[in-house]
Symmetry: none
Subunit: 246 residues, 2 copies
DNA sequence: CAGTGGTCTAGACCACGGC
DNA sequence: CCGTGGTCTAGACCACTGG
C-alpha cells in the first residue's frame, strides 16, 4: 500500500479524521483500484501506529460516505463504482464539498422581476409578486454540473446583493431558512441551450429537479428548477422510518 | 430514568443495538420529555452494566437518526422537535394507487439464482449468495411505466412463489420488512431492449432508480434497480426538517 | 483452518460547559 | 472547579469467509 498515512499530532484534529482524509485522498488519486481490498484493520493499525478502534472509526466514516464496503470475514473493499452521492436534503455547495469536489458557479441572472403566472401558481403567490431571480451554472471539479434557476419572493431576501455562493446561507441570515419542502425529480433531455451551458450534447440525458420550500408556517420561500447532467450527477435519497407501502 | 434497559444476552443481537432500541422506544413513549437531558454516558454505562464505548455506539445511532443531540461539555439531549427526517418512500403499487392509476405488472423473471459480483458488492453479500431474482414490467393505465428488477437474499424470502403483487407484502409476511435504505436516482437513456419493453423510442429519457434496503440491524434485504419512463413518471421527495446545507 | 471484520471491555487523557 | 462529551489505547472473544 502506497498510502501516505503519516499523521501530525501537533495539529490537533482527531487522529481518525486525519486517517480518513488520507485514505480518501489515496482512493481518489487512484492509488488503489476500485474493487480492490484494503489492508486489514489490524495491518493498518500497525502501519499507522494507532489502535484498531481508531482505524475502525476512520473506516466507518468512509463506509458512511459510500467509498468503502465491508464484508464480514472477507475484507474491506473500495466501492466498485465510484459514486457521486448527493444528500437528499442539502443544497448544492454542501453536496459538492461532501464529495471532495471544488464547488463553483457562474452567474447567468441575478435580478428582481415579477413572477410569471406559472411560478406564481406553483409557489401560491399572488399575481405580480416581486421575486429575486437567480440563475447559475454550477461547477464541480472545473466542469459544469448543473443549471440552477431559483425564484425567491423579495420579502424573503431584502438584499439580493448579499448572495455570494449560497442561497441558503443568505436566507438563513434573514431568518428565513426553509423548514420543509417538496422535490420533484424526473428524467429529461437537454435542450440546445442547456447542452451548450453544460458542455454536453443536445438531447443528452439530464435530471430535472424542481424544489419548492417553505417556512414552518407554510409561507413559500423558494422555487428552484435545476437541470443536472445525467452523466455526472446522481440524486441520493435516504430512507428512514418506512411508511405504509406497496 | 425510567428506561427499561434490560438486555437479553441469549438473543445475540449486538448489545449496542438492543440499547439503542430500548432508548428509542423510551423516547417515543415519552418517558423523557423532548429537550431534556439524558443521563450522562458514564451513568448509563453503570446503569446497564456495559462499557462506555458501547453506550456511545448506541447513542451514536440515535444521534444519526436525529433523535438525540450532543453538546460537548454539557450533555446529551432529546431533540426538541419530534422529527420525521429523511425522505419517505413508497413502493410501486402504493405510488400508483396514490395517483389514481390502475396498477398491474407482467413478470419477466421469477427465479432463484446466484448474486452477481456487482450485486453482491452493492448489497455487501458474500460471493455466491443465493438470491431471488424478480423482474417485472410495471403497468399503469394500461401502458408500461417501468421495468423493475429486484434481488432479495433467499434467507429473507423462503417462498418465492408467495409473491403475488407486492414484494413488500411478502417480506412483511416473513417479518423482514425493511426499516431503512438508500435510493439513488439518475437520468439516463433507454437501451433498445428497455425501449421495446416500455413502448418508447430507443434513446428516450428514463429515470433509473437503485434502491437498497435493510433491516433495523443493517442486514441487507433488497436491491432493486428500475427504469421509469421519463415522460410518465416523476419522483417526488418530501423534505422535512432541513439540515445544515449550502 | 487462518484471517477477516464485529463487538466489547476497562481504563486513560483531553477540551469544553457551566457553576 | 467538576462533570460533560470526544478521543484513544491494548487487549479480548466471537462469527464469518475462504481456501
Amino acid at each position: 500500500m502506497k498510502f501516505n498515512l503519516q499523521t501530525r499530532w501537533n495539529d490537533h484534529t482527531p487522529l481518525y479524521i486525519q486517517l480518513a482524509n488520507r485514505l480518501r485522498d489515496g482512493i481518489h488519486e487512484g492509488q488503489i483500484a476500485y474493487g480492490d481490498a484494503l489492508p486489514s484493520e489490524r495491518v493498518l493499525s500497525e502501519l499507522t501506529g494507532t489502535s484498531r478502534v481508531t482505524i475502525r472509526k476512520a473506516l466507518d466514516q468512509l463506509v458512511d460516505e459510500g467509498l468503502l464496503l465491508r464484508r464480514h470475514g472477507s475484507g474491506t473493499f473500495i466501492t466498485p463504482r465510484p459514486e457521486q452521492p448527493g444528500t437528499s436534503l442539502s443544497g448544492f455547495s454542501a453536496d459538492a464539498v461532501h464529495c471532495g469536489q471544488a464547488p463553483g458557479s457562474i452567474w447567468l441572472v441575478k435580478m428582481v422581476s415579477v413572477a410569471t403566472v406559472d411560478e406564481a401558481a406553483v409557489l401560491a403567490l399572488s399575481a405580480g409578486t416581486l421575486v429575486a431571480r437567480l440563475a447559475r451554472v454550477r461547477i464541480a471539479d472545473e466542469e459544469p454540473l448543473a443549471i440552477e434557476h431559483a425564484i425567491v419572493p423579495v420579502a424573503m431576501l431584502p438584499s439580493i446583493e448579499l448572495i455570494s455562493d449560497s442561497l441558503y446561507a443568505a436566507l438563513d441570515h434573514h431568518g428565513n431558512r426553509p423548514s420543509n419542502g417538496v422535490q420533484k425529480i424526473r428524467a429529461s433531455l437537454a435542450t440546445p441551450i442547456e447542452a451548450g451551458l453544460l458542455s454536453i450534447k443536445e438531447g443528452a440525458e439530464v435530471l430535472r429537479i424542481e424544489r419548492r420550500t417553505f417556512l414552518a408556517d407554510g409561507t413559500p420561500v423558494e422555487l428552484t428548477r435545476s437541470a443536472y447532467r445525467g452523466d455526472r450527477y446522481e440524486f441520493v435519497a435516504d430512507l428512514r422510518d418506512w411508511c405504509e407501502n406497496s
